[in-house]
Point group: C2
Chain length 118, copies 2
DNA sequence: CCCCACTACTTGCAAAGAGCAAGTAAATAA
DNA sequence: TTATTTACTTGCTCTTTGCAAGTAGTGGGG
């Protein structure tokens, strides 16, 4: 369990992204269009498969992502952001803006995609 | 160590608030005006003193808060948000807006202070 | 149809982090 | 000068994380 919310917007939020990995998974879905388990594994961040499995299950339980079999290839699974997940975008942009201002390593341009492919 | 950032605004952000407690400490400073160790301990969230001590030290190291002795009472210590810390406000508001929309328990009003005292 | 590769996981174990209770040092209050 | 307040630290246990290896279901090639 990551966290149990309790009558507070931040506790509620922490239940979704208050750990090391969930926010990075959400980032990869939102800005890089990742949809598969292997995508997240190979994102170069170093998440381990058991933790990724757990985080995806939890994001699904909290209705941030949906999970479905790829109709074109039964081995694959497609993960996608729900509307609730997509609604996190303003928060994500706020984080990017803050880091852009305060992290010397971060260089947030107007082109969001470049921020992650450079 | 909570996290080491790596050329990405979210990794950088996670270094600051990517754990169970840091965001709640920031919340208490930003919206409730807490300044002392005991304030955070008694906030009713259940953080333990060793973890609080560690998180405050870390937030100080990352220049989100400052730590100084209370000039009026040498036993006390004053913790305050730096400008860098205060710049997290838009992100905090984005989280509140998101939770207000999606968490049935959260009722974000125009009056931010009431959100935490109700 | 058979076999091997691929994909999305699970399992087992060691290491790191969190939680709890008790203890300590410095400063003030009585 | 003794007790109390404040901000911690210490030691221990329990939970979570990270790593390596293993497995089940599907698909493709011969």
């Amino acid at each position: 369990m990551i966290y149990e919310p309790n009558r507070c917007p931040f506790r509620f939020g922490l239940g979704v992204f208050g750990d090391r990995w969930s926010l990075l998974v959400i980032r990869d879905m939102m800005f890089r269009g990742f949809t598969r388990f292997q995508d997240f594994m190979n994102a170069g961040e170093g998440i381990s498969s058991n933790v990724l499995s757990d985080r995806l299950r939890q994001l699904e339980a909290r209705q941030i992502v949906t999970r479905e079999k790829d109709p074109a290839d039964g081995r694959k699974v497609l993960y996608e952001l729900t509307d609730k997940g997509k609604d996190l975008r303003p928060m994500m942009l706020a984080i990017m803006a803050w880091a852009g201002k305060h992290d010397p390593e971060t260089n947030v341009t107007g082109d969001i995609d470049r921020t992650f492919t450079d």
